[in-house]
Symmetry: C2
Subunit: 216 residues, 2 copies
């Protein structure tokens, strides 16, 4: 099991890597991961290992792909089921102590050479995220519960890697009717404080039942 | 490895099932599948087993999901990597002889009780197909190489399970510029013979490079 953990801060889309404490690839950076325990479902393995290695829990987690290329691992564990997780970095910036030597966030354009085929797994996850964020409301997982629209737009701009027109974006996202406009504004900001919004999963679920398609 | 094979004829979306020749679940219908051989990648396993059990080869095949719920299989093979395949039924209506007792196509609304958790795997595949067909040009895999627009519309109507407005559909699909209009019309039809079209993968690839998103 290997897991690609995405976070997003003001600068960039980030990936969580751990430095391997043992052979093979000792000292090299790798995706967090580990082996299943008998009788454990794979998603449970993913959540357990993620918490053990990085302290992260209760995060968005979804299966990515099962890699089975013979030769992908010098040991005998040839097949790995991979997951990806989306994390709100403002809450999880500090990583708890871990099994692994060390854990750190890397900018997606600044990833070191990874152990095993983890570079390939990471690229697969990045592609999945880019595709899925346009049709599923998963981008909110990268944000705090209450956020200004500027931050939501930044999620899309950083993941899709292109500029988005501010007026069109606001019009589109607000017309979907899945955001609650709050009676609150940002605090502790140097610029003019913006209105805060919240994603309303119940509204979203109701709309999906009526045949609505989320789409940015 | 288990594989959900979809086909489409004039009546309905169809699923290919095999009747199990051995225990457990002997005599019950199940998805085609089998076990990996050492040193074989999983997609190779899927293609090999599909050919052995159903005679199908060179079909569209994509990984679906890895199921690992403890207790999903009464034997010890708890984890299964599943795939789904899309087949042009007009070419593959007749199934070759097989490993399994027998193989047959079932309408998606007329599926018998399946062995193991195959009913669950089938529903997962059906959902994936419904989601993916709107954003990826995979529907063409269910059609012959040359087809009238009426047949393409039927692919979407049967998979999405709703009526689609004919004029809007034609306008949308033709405006994407990924179909070649041929100098040929249908033959052997009782109604007025319609113009034939072909999906042009090179045009599609060029458009994707320019940032175009396929979308129905």
């Amino acid at each position: 099991m290997d897991c690609v953990v995405f976070g997003l801060d003001e600068e960039d889309l980030k990936i969580l890597l751990i430095q391997r404490g043992q052979e093979p690839f000792k000292g090299q950076w790798a995706l967090p991961g580990g082996f299943a325990v008998v009788g454990e479902g794979l998603e449970d393995t993913a959540r357990r290992e993620l918490e053990e290695e990085t302290g992260l829990k209760n995060v968005f987690l979804e299966q990515l792909y099962t890699f089975s290329d013979p030769g992908r691992d010098p040991r005998e564990h040839v097949v790995t089921v991979s997951y990806y997780a989306l994390v709100n970095l403002s809450e999880h910036k500090v990583l708890a102590s871990t099994d692994a030597s060390s854990a750190a966030w890397f900018g997606v354009d600044d990833i070191p050479r990874l152990a095993f085929d983890h570079g390939h797994i990471l690229r697969t996850a990045h592609e999945r995220l880019r595709g899925k964020i346009r049709y599923q409301p998963i981008g909110f997982e990268l944000l705090p519960e209450r956020f200004p629209l500027r931050m939501l737009q930044a999620v899309y701009e950083k993941i899709l890697d292109r500029q988005i027109d501010k007026r069109n974006f606001r019009k589109k996202i607000l017309s979907m009717g899945v955001l609650d406009e709050l009676d609150e504004i940002e605090t502790d900001v140097s610029h003019r404080a913006a209105r805060l919004y919240r994603f309303d999963i119940r509204k979203y679920d109701r709309m999906v039942k009526r045949g609505f398609n989320f789409e940015i």
